[in-house]
């Protein structure tokens, strides 16, 4: 299973040991954890987040609903945060000319898997998690995103039950593009806030 979360074999060994105990005591059957993880990840893809961002770019009403109540808004486009054991609250924030948002989970690596796919290794790294709250401008520059000094940066730490997603700024010169073409421009980093689109 995906126990190698911190790149530490000691942790992996502990996870395997706990898994074996759970199976031995009949609390889970063999393979159940892997099956549950597969179910949870099924359909999770940054293409979902990209579709939401593109819709928000072309439809102001959808954008307003998305920022006010993201769970309800994404249900309207056939997506859901209910793939796990319980529906998770989704909070969507939008970048503007004046404000840039970036998402982190300083305590572990929480993130909306259904909309972004499995999280990248850097998102789970201690370096990103500890540094982006302290010096987001410096960290974003290391990602190649140099923000103008007058753009305010807001960092969102997923420390409890909500999951966050960023709607990037719509790039200039995309007026004639279809919603589908726009969605093709949106990257996972853009939806986390570590890249512009």
């Amino acid at each position: 299973m995906s126990g190698d979360h911190h790149g530490s074999s000691a942790i992996s060994e502990r996870v395997r040991h706990v898994e074996a105990l759970l199976e031995e005591r009949g609390l889970v059957d063999a393979g159940e954890i892997d099956r549950r993880i597969d179910e949870f990840l099924a359909g999770g893809s940054p293409a979902n987040g990209a579709r939401i961002a593109a819709r928000a770019w072309v439809d102001d009403g959808f954008r307003d609903r998305l920022l006010a109540d993201a769970n309800a808004a994404i249900r309207g486009v056939g997506l859901s945060m209910a793939g796990g054991l319980q529906e998770q609250r989704l909070k969507v924030v939008a970048n503007t000319d004046d404000e840039h948002n970036v998402v982190v989970c300083t305590l572990c690596s929480c993130y909306p898997i259904a909309l972004l796919g499995p999280s990248p290794a850097w998102y789970k790294s201690e370096a990103y998690r500890s540094r982006v709250v302290r010096d987001p401008r410096g960290v974003l520059a290391e990602f190649g995103l140099e923000l103008p000094a007058d753009v305010r940066i807001s960092v969102w730490d997923a420390s409890a039950e909500s999951r966050y997603m960023v709607v990037p700024r719509r790039p200039d010169g995309t007026d004639g593009m279809s919603e589908e073409e726009l969605a093709g421009l949106v990257t996972r980093k853009g939806l986390i806030g570590t890249a512009a689109v």
Binding site: I153, S154, A160, E161, S162
Partner: protein, 96 residues
């Protein structure tokens, strides 16, 4: 029980350093921020991590100015915090 805080309220986070799992990140302890919005009601994570059922209480997005957390920085950091971690702060404290 009604929610104790509303958007715009100034709040101060706990300075406690519990021996158990908590979701109040260390960098946000003892700091003054402002409630952005309610983020639902959930059992307190500190209780659940200790095998207790956990009282369900309000969770808030609370915004802090980086300077109030770290002594410098021009950004802000929004943390999601259970009501248990928060006390009212006077309106002069903090500048989020």
């Amino acid at each position: 029980m009604p929610d104790r805080f509303a958007p715009g309220d100034a709040v101060r986070t706990s300075t406690a350093d519990p021996a158990w799992h908590t979701r109040l990140p260390r960098y946000a302890r003892g700091a003054v921020g402002r409630v952005v919005e309610l983020a639902g009601h959930h059992p307190l994570a500190d209780d659940r991590a200790r095998g207790r059922a956990g009282t369900t209480q309000a969770v808030y997005h609370v915004r802090f100015a980086a300077a109030d957390l770290f002594g410098d920085g021009d950004h802000d950091v929004t943390v999601e915090l259970w009501e248990d971690y928060l006390e009212p702060a006077d309106q002069q404290g903090g500048t989020p």
